[in-house]
Symmetry: D2
Subunit: 359 residues, 4 copies
C-alpha cells in the first residue's frame, strides 16, 4: 500500500476502484473514468465474472488497458484513494463498513440506496430490515451536488442519489424552498428507460417483454419515495409527502419526470420559472429552458446534463414542471464522478464534458 501510494504521487493521478463493474452503472463509470486525466482505474470487481477481462463483459472496452475483474476480497482497497460502490442494495452497507474499518482514509461514493436515507427508522420501513452500519449512515452525505456541494467536498462517504430522485429533486426542491409551490400538492409522473432496471437476467426485462409497450410499476410503494420524502421535507422544513408513479418506457436511457404542481398563494408561473432559472444559473449541468419550452429525454442522452421546462397549465394556479436526464449519467455514474471530483479536489466538470448524443 505504501508503495502504491508512492507510485500514485509519481503519476500524479488519483487511483480508484469500481466495485460491481459488470453492471451498467459500473460500465458507465469506466467509460467516464477512462477519459479522466487525473484518475487511474486500479481495480474492478465482479464476483461472478472474476478472472475475466472487462472486455469479456463489455466488449466496447476491447483495446483499453484495464485491470482484470476480481472478487471484492481480492481487491487491495488500501492501494486506492477512492472506491465507487455499484453493488446491489442491502449487501453494500456491510461491504463499505468493512472497507472503511480496514482503510479509514479511503473515500467512498456509493451508488446503492444503502446510505441515502439518514433516518434509520425510515430506512427500516422502506427496506424491510434494520440498517447494519448506522454509525456510517450518520456520516454519509447525500450526494446531490447542486444541493449539497459544500457538504460533499470534505465527505468520506457520499451516498449517490437515485435516478428518479435526482430528476425530481432538481425540479422541485428549489420551488419548495422558495415557497413557490404547495408541497402537499405535488404529483410526479415519471418515466424511465430500461437500464434503470439493471443487468440482472429477469423475464420481466427481456426485450420481448418490454419493447413496444409501456407500464407503471411500483405504484404507491417504489422505494425512491423514501428519498423524495426526505429531501422534500427538508426543503419544506416539515414532513411532506408527494404522489409518485414510475413507468417503464421502451428505451435504454433517460428519465422523464412530469411534475404537476400548484402555486403557493399568488405565485405566478413566471415566478416559478425565475426561481429555477436563478437557482441553476451558475450550474454547469442544469439547463432551465425558456418558459413554455418542453424538453425531450433524448437530448441529454450520454451526457451529465439535466434539462428542465416550466409550462403553465390551462388551470389557473397550476404548472407542469418537466425535468429529464440520462439515468446512467447524471442519474448514476456521471453524478458519482461529479461527487468524486469534489471529494478529491478536482474541477467539478472534469471528464463530464461529453455532449448528449442525439440521434
Amino acid at each position: 500500500m505504501a508503495e502504491a501510494k508512492k507510485s500514485r504521487s509519481a503519476t500524479n493521478k488519483a487511483e480508484v476502484a469500481v466495485l460491481g463493474a459488470s453492471g451498467y452503472t459500473g460500465a458507465e463509470l469506466v467509460r467516464l473514468l477512462l477519459r479522466h486525466p487525473k484518475i487511474a482505474i486500479k481495480g474492478l470487481t465482479a464476483d461472478r465474472r472474476a478472472g475475466q477481462p472487462m472486455a469479456a463483459v463489455f466488449p466496447q472496452f476491447a483495446g483499453f488497458d484495464l485491470p482484470k475483474l476480481v472478487k471484492i476480497e481480492e481487491l487491495d482497497a488500501g492501494a486506492v484513494d477512492l472506491v465507487f460502490c455499484a453493488l446491489p442494495h442491502g449487501t453494500t452497507q456491510v461491504v463499505i463498513k468493512d472497507l472503511l474499518e480496514k482503510t479509514p482514509d479511503l473515500k467512498v461514493v456509493d451508488l446503492s440506496a444503502d446510505f441515502r436515507i439518514s433516518d434509520p427508522a425510515a430506512y427500516e420501513k422502506w427496506y424491510g430490515h434494520a440498517h447494519q452500519a448506522v454509525e456510517l449512515q450518520k456520516q454519509a452525505v447525500y450526494g446531490l451536488v447542486e444541493i449539497y456541494r459544500d457538504e460533499i467536498k470534505p465527505a468520506r462517504l457520499v451516498a449517490n442519489p437515485g435516478c428518479f430522485t435526482t430528476t425530481s429533486i432538481l425540479a422541485v426542491v428549489p420551488l419548495i424552498e422558495a415557497g413557490a409551490i404547495n408541497p402537499d400538492e405535488i404529483v410526479i409522473d415519471s418515466k424511465t428507460g430500461m437500464t434503470g432496471a439493471g443487468r440482472a437476467a429477469k423475464e420481466a426485462m427481456l426485450f420481448s417483454e418490454v419493447s413496444e409497450g409501456l407500464h407503471a410499476y411500483g405504484v404507491a410503494h417504489h422505494r425512491h419515495m423514501a428519498e423524495l420524502d426526505q429531501e422534500f421535507s427538508l426543503a419544506a422544513k416539515r414532513a411532506v409527502t408527494a404522489t409518485f408513479t414510475p413507468h417503464l418506457a421502451p428505451m435504454n436511457r433517460g428519465i422523464y419526470a412530469t411534475h404537476y404542481v400548484r402555486a403557493e398563494g399568488k405565485t405566478t408561473v413566471e415566478q416559478m420559472h425565475r426561481v429555477l432559472g436563478d437557482f441553476y444559473k451558475a450550474e454547469p449541468f442544469v439547463q432551465v429552458l425558456p418558459l413554455g419550452e418542453v424538453p425531450q429525454s433524448r437530448h441529454t442522452r450520454g451526457s451529465n446534463h439535466v434539462q428542465i421546462g416550466v409550462i403553465a397549465d390551462r388551470i389557473a394556479g397550476r404548472a407542469i414542471v418537466i425535468s429529464t436526464l440520462d439515468n446512467l449519467v447524471k442519474g448514476a455514474s456521471g453524478q458519482a464522478v461529479q461527487n468524486m471530483n469534489l471529494m478529491l479536489g478536482f474541477s467539478e466538470t472534469t471528464a463530464l464534458d461529453q455532449i448528449a448524443m442525439f440521434p
Copy 2:
C-alpha cells in the same frame, strides 16, 4: 345505385367505403373489415395515391381482393350503406356535408375530430375556425359506445372519439357520474405510441427523432382537451376542467393514461374500484383488473380491448386509475367498426374478436 343496392341484398352483405384509406386508421379499418362476415368493402379513397392498388400503399394486403384507390369525387357514395371517414381534421366536415346532401340515407362514421364537439363555440375556440356544417354537428352522436350505445344505434352520423379521450373517458366518467371523485382535481398524464401521430411525412416523426427517448407535447393546449371537457362536464353536470398532458413514447401502438384522482367525501378506493367494475361488468371490451393490479399497454395491442387498473395512492383519499388500449383499434378503427356494427344492426363484437398480440 339502385342496382348496387340490389346486388347487396343478393350477397346479404352491407357495403362500405373508407375515405382516407392510405393512413394508418384507414389500413386498420381494412384489416378489421376484411374479416367481417357481413361487410363488403366497395370503395377506398386516397387522393395522392389514387389509381394504385391498396397493396402498393400497404403491402400486407397483397393477395386480398380490394378495390383500387380512387379520389373522393370518383366514389359512388350512393352505392354504399356506410362510409368511414378517416380524413384530416377540418376538411372532413365539408366532405361529409356534401356526401349527406347527395345521399341522405347514407350512414357515416367519422374518425376525425370534426363532429366530436357539440358546442360550436367550443369547436371554434379549439380549432380556430367556425364550423362549416353546424346543422350536422347537432345531429352527430359522440361514438363512445360504452357511454352512448343507445344513441349510436339509430344515428346516421357518428363522431368516433379521439384516442386519448376514449382512454380517459372510460376510466374517469363512471367515477364522476357516481360522485366518487372530485371532478375538479383530475390530473391525466397520458402516453401514446407513434401511430397516433399519423402517417404524414414530418421530420419530428422520423425514427431517429422519436426512438430512444420520450417527451411531452401539446402541454396545456392539446385539442383532445375539448372532448375531455365536454364529456367530463356532462358527467359532472357542471363545467369541469382537467389537467391533461400527452407524451410521445417510442412504440407503435398503445395509449397508457395514468389518472391521479381524489375521492369525493369519504369514498374509498375499494368503492371507486367497485364503481368501475359494476359499470363495465357486461361490457365485452373493457376489463377492470383486480384492485391494485397495474395494466400494461402491450396486452391490448391489436385488440379492441381496454384494461383498467385502480391503485390506492399512499396518500389518503387519492387514487391512481390507469387505463390502456390500442390507439388504432379501440382508440380509432376498432371503435369505428363497433359503432358501425350498432348502426347497421349487427352484433356489436363482430370482427372485433382478435386477441391482443403479445409479444
Copy 3:
C-alpha cells in the same frame, strides 16, 4: 377418456392441449386456437407456473375462458385428440414417447427440434446426444405443409419445422428441385426478431443488451443447419451444404432471409421467378412478389403469410431471393395450427386468416 371423447362429439369440437403454454409459441398457439371454431382448448401445461391462470402469465388472456396451467403429469392426454408440444429441445422426445405409449391414438404436433432430423446420426452430431425415441423419429413427418402436405394428413406425429428453416426452405427448395440454381453455391444471410430466442431469462436477451444494435450468432454452427442440409439434400437428390448465418435484430417478430444464389446453366432470373410463382400459385399463405420487388418483414407480422421476392444481381448468373415471415406464426405456432388442420381434417386455413398487423 371415453366420456371425454363422447362430450367431444357432442360439442362437435376437437379437443387439444398445449404443453409448454408459458412460452411465446405457447401463447401464440392459444391466441390462434381461441379463434378456431372447431377446437376446444382442454389443457395447458407449464411446470413452473402450474396452478396459475393463463392470464397471470400472459395478461392479454384476461377475460377468456381457459383451463388453469398444470404440470405435464397432471394432464389427461387421453381426453384430448391432439397435443401441441412447445417444450424445450431434448426433453421433448421422452415426453412425447411416453404420451404416445399411453395414448396411441393421440396426435402430436411437436414444435421442438426433436423430431425434425430423420437421420439419427445427424441428430446426434448436431444435438450432442443419441436420440431417445428413434422409432418415433422414423414415423415423424416434417411438417412443412407446402412441401409435405400429403404426408402430413395421415401422420400422428408431425415435427413442426424451425423458423429459419421454414423461411429458407420455402425460398430455395423449389429452385433446387427445378434444377434452376446450383445447390453448392447457396449463401443464406438470415435475420430474426427477439421472440425467436424464447422467454427464458438470459442476460443476453435483456432489452438493454439487444436493442439499438445487431449481431450475428451461431455463425457456422447454428443447429437449424441440420434441417437445411436435410431438406436441401432431399431436393437436390444428393448431399448439399449451404452457408448460413443467423443475425439477431432489435424487433419482436419476423425472420428476413436473404439468399444469394447462382443460376444452374443458363437459367435466367425470370425463370427462377417463374419456378417460385408456379410452385406457390395455389398456396393460400405464400405470396411471390413481382420480379424485382423487395419484401419487408413487417408486412407479415402476426399473420401466417410468407412473402418472397426475387431480384437479379448486377453480376450475371446470380440472384437474390428474399423470403420473410413471422417467426411465431408461419415460423412456429401458425404452421403448427396449419398442420393440425390437416391432421384433423379441417380446412387448412381455419383460424389462420388474420391479416398482418402493420404498423
Copy 4:
C-alpha cells in the same frame, strides 16, 4: 479575412465551418468538434433554418456557445481554415468548386458522394449526370485514413467515404491486396441503422414505417457499389465486382456488414485473420477480434472504432468476415474529423477518444 486569420494565430486554434449543420452528420461533427482542443467552430450553415440558433435544430446544444445558422452565401469561407461539407449529393460539387475558386487555400472535407468516384464515366453512370467539377474530382483524395493516410495529409480536398463502403473496405481490401481471398467471389450482406438515411422528412423513414421490422433496399443498384468497385479493383489491380445488399434495421446507429469470402488457393482462415491483424495492429481505431469471435454493432456506438471478426465457415475454403462501426462516427463525421486532423497536422486521434456508449 486577414484579420480573422490573425485572431486565429492568437487563439492558436484552427477555424472551421460546417456546411449543412442541420442534418445528422452536421450535428455529429459539432458534437465532436466542440471537444476538440485545437478547433474553433466559426460557421454553421443550414439553408432552411438560417437565422436560428443551432439549439433550435438540435436541443442537445443548448448552453453551448455556437454561431447561428446562416445560409451558405452568408458564410465567409475566407475566414476559416477548413470546411466540412455535409450537403446532399449532386449540389455539393458546385458549392465546393465555387468555394475553392474564391478561397484557393481553403481545405475541404466533403461528406457527400460527389468526389468519391475518381472516374468521371463511372460517376456519370451511377449518378445519372456528368460531373460538374471534373478538375477537382481528379485532385480529390479518397479519405479512408487506414488506406490512404499519406495521400490525405497534404490534400486540400478529401472525399470522406460512404458508411457502407468504409465498413466493407476495411474488412476486405487488406485480404484482396494480400491475395488471401478470391475477389470475384465476395458477397456482402450489410445492415444499417436509420440515421444512415438522413433527416429528410420521408414517409418511408417514419418511426411506424421502420420500427419492428427489417428490409433490404437498393438491391443490386445501391450507389455505394461504385465506391466498392473502385476500391476493390484498385486492391485487386483489375476490375472486380462484388455482390452487395444493404438492409435497413430498426436502430439509430450502426452498420453491420457480413462478408462471405472464399480463400484464394490454399489460404487458411487463420491466415486471413493474420492478414487483418497485421494490417491493423498499429491502428488506433480498428480492432481485429480473436479468430472466431463475433462483433456486435452496439459496442462501437458513438465511437470512431471499428470491430472486425473472422469466422471459418463450415464449408472448407470459405470464411465469414464481419465488420461493424457507427455510421455517424467512423462512417461519416468521426472519419471526417480524423481526416481533418491529418490535413491540419494534428494528432490523428484528437477529439476522437470517446468510448462506445453501451448500453
